[in-house]
C-alpha cells in the first residue's frame, strides 16, 4: 500500500497555491514537507485528507486510509484524557486506548479533564489520538508545536513504531522532528505561478 500523488494542484480560497505536486510515500517511510509560511503545506495535507477537493491531479490512496491531525487537536475540554481517546477509538472501531496513553506518557493524566492540560500535554493527547484510528497513513501538520525535547523524542519513537508496523507518515514541519531517516520534500519547488482566472471574484471562489 502506498500513497502516490501525481500532478496535484491545490488551492486555498480559490487561488492555486501548489501545482504539479508529485511524490510517493510507501509503507514504512516518512516524508517531511518543508517550505516557507503560506506556501501551502496545510492546504496540501487537507486536500490529501479529503477535506477539500483538488483542482487537478490524482491521489492513489482513499481518504479512508488516512488519519489527519491538524493545528487543532479536536479535544473536548470537559472530557477527561481517557474519555477523549475512548471516543475517537469508538468512532474508528478500534481499541488500544491504554497503549496509546502509555506511548505518549499520558497514563498519569488519564482522569484529568482536557481543559486542565498544558499546551504540550494537549498536543500529546492529540497525537495519541492517531494511534487509536487504526489508519495506515498519518498526515501531521506541525506535530511538535509546544512539545518539549523529551516529548519530541516520545513522538519520534511513536512514529518509528508506526512505520515499523507498516504505516507511513507525512509531516509538515519547520523544526527538527528527531527522525533522521525521513525524506524531505521542499514545497517551494511546486509553488503555483500567480494567476487569476478571467473574471475572478474572490466572493464566489
Amino acid at each position: 500500500m502506498e500513497l502516490a500523488v501525481a500532478d496535484l494542484t491545490c488551492a486555498r480560497g480559490g487561488v492555486p497555491l501548489l501545482e504539479g505536486v508529485s511524490f510517493t510515500l510507501s509503507a514504512g517511510a516518512a516524508l517531511v514537507l518543508r517550505g516557507p509560511n503560506g506556501c501551502g503545506k496545510t492546504t496540501l495535507l487537507r486536500t490529501l485528507a479529503g477535506l477539500q477537493p483538488a483542482l487537478a491531479g490524482t491521489v492513489s490512496c482513499p481518504p479512508e486510509a488516512i488519519a489527519y491531525a491538524g493545528h487543532a487537536d479536536g479535544l473536548k475540554a470537559v472530557l477527561t484524557v481517557a474519555e477523549n481517546l475512548a471516543f475517537w477509538a469508538a468512532i474508528h472501531g478500534q481499541s488500544g486506548v491504554e497503549a496509546a496513553m502509555k506511548a505518549m506518557n499520558l497514563t498519569e493524566l488519564s482522569g484529568r479533564q482536557a481543559q486542565h492540560l498544558s499546551a504540550g500535554q494537549k498536543r500529546r493527547l492529540g497525537l495519541a489520538r492517531l494511534m487509536v484510528t487504526g489508519r495506515a497513513f498519518w498526515l501531521l501538520d506541525e506535530p511538535t508545536v509546544s512539545l518539549d525535547t523529551a516529548s519530541v523524542a516520545l513522538f519520534a519513537a511513536v512514529v518509528r513504531a508506526h512505520l515499523a508496523r507498516g504505516g507511513a507518515a507525512l509531516m509538515a514541519s519547520h523544526i527538527d522532528l528527531g527522525l533522521d531517516e525521513a525524506r524531505v520534500l521542499e514545497l517551494a519547488a511546486f509553488r503555483a505561478a500567480p494567476r487569476l482566472p478571467q473574471g475572478f471574484d474572490e466572493a464566489f471562489a
Binding site: 479529503g50 481518504p63 473536548k76
Partner: protein, 218 residues
C-alpha cells in the same frame, strides 16, 4: 454513532454544556406572559397554545449554534469529517442529541406551564403530542441552519434569521393542533401535516446539512 451520541449527551450535561438553557428560557417566558398580558384567565387560555408553541420554538433556537460551532472551533469537526462514519450520520446523530437535551425536556415541562397559562383542560394531551411530533423537526431544521453558518464568526444571529422562517409550518400546524384540541374539534389533519413535516425534514435535511458542512470545511 452511539459513541457520538453518548459523547454529545455527556458534553451537554457537563459544566458549560448548555443543558437547561432552553428549558429555563421556556419557563421564564411562560411566567412573563401572564405578567405582561394580565391575569384575565379567558385571555390567557386563548393565547396559551400559541405562546407555548412560540416559546418552545425560541427555546430550541437558543442552543442551535452549539450543534456544530463548538466542534468546528476545537477541530473535532475536521476529524469527524475524515472519520469512518458518514457525515450525514453525524448530522442526524447531533440533531438527535440536540432534541434529547432541548426538545424532549420542553415536551415534558409544557403541561406544567399550560397550567400557568390557563390552557383548556382538554388540550393538555394534544399539547404534549403536538410538541412530541413537532420538536424533532425544529432540531433537524436547526441542525441544517447550523451547518450552513458553521464557519462564520458570530453566526448566531444569521442562524436565527435563516431558521425561523423554516420553522413557520411546524409552528402553524403545531399550534393549530392545540387550538383545535382546546376547542374540542378534530385534530387529525394538522397532526398528520405536523408529522409529515418532521418525517420529511428528518429524511432529507441531514443530506443537505452534510453537503453544507463539506463546503464550509474547505
Amino acid at each position: 454513532m452511539i459513541a457520538l451520541l453518548t459523547r454529545d449527551l455527556r458534553l451537554a450535561f457537563r459544566a458549560g454544556g448548555g443543558f437547561g438553557l432552553g428549558l429555563g428560557f421556556f419557563l421564564i417566558l411562560a411566567v412573563l406572559v401572564p405578567l405582561g398580558v394580565g391575569p384575565e384567565p379567558r385571555t390567557l387560555g386563548l393565547i396559551a397554545p400559541g405562546i407555548l408553541w412560540v416559546g418552545a420554538l425560541l427555546a430550541c433556537l437558543l442552543s442551535l449554534d452549539r450543534i456544530f460551532a463548538l466542534d468546528f472551533e476545537d477541530g473535532s469537526l475536521d476529524l469527524l469529517a475524515t472519520a469512518p462514519i458518514p457525515l450525514e450520520g453525524v448530522v442526524a446523530v447531533k440533531a438527535l442529541a440536540h432534541w434529547l437535551t432541548t426538545g424532549l425536556p420542553l415536551v415534558l415541562v409544557a403541561p406544567l406551564l399550560g397550567v400557568l397559562l390557563n390552557l383548556a383542560p382538554g388540550a393538555y394531551g394534544w399539547l404534549v403530542l403536538s410538541l412530541l411530533l413537532g420538536t424533532p423537526a425544529l432540531s433537524v431544521i436547526g441542525a441544517f441552519g447550523a451547518a450552513l453558518t458553521v464557519g462564520l464568526k458570530r453566526g448566531g444571529l444569521l442562524l436565527s434569521l435563516l431558521v425561523l422562517p423554516l420553522y413557520i409550518p411546524t409552528l402553524v400546524y403545531g399550534a393549530e393542533v392545540v387550538i383545535r384540541g382546546a376547542a374540542g374539534l378534530g385534530v387529525t389533519t394538522p397532526l398528520l401535516l405536523l408529522a409529515g413535516i418532521t418525517a420529511g425534514s428528518a429524511a432529507l435535511l441531514p443530506f443537505a446539512a452534510a453537503l453544507a458542512l463539506r463546503v464550509n470545511l474547505r
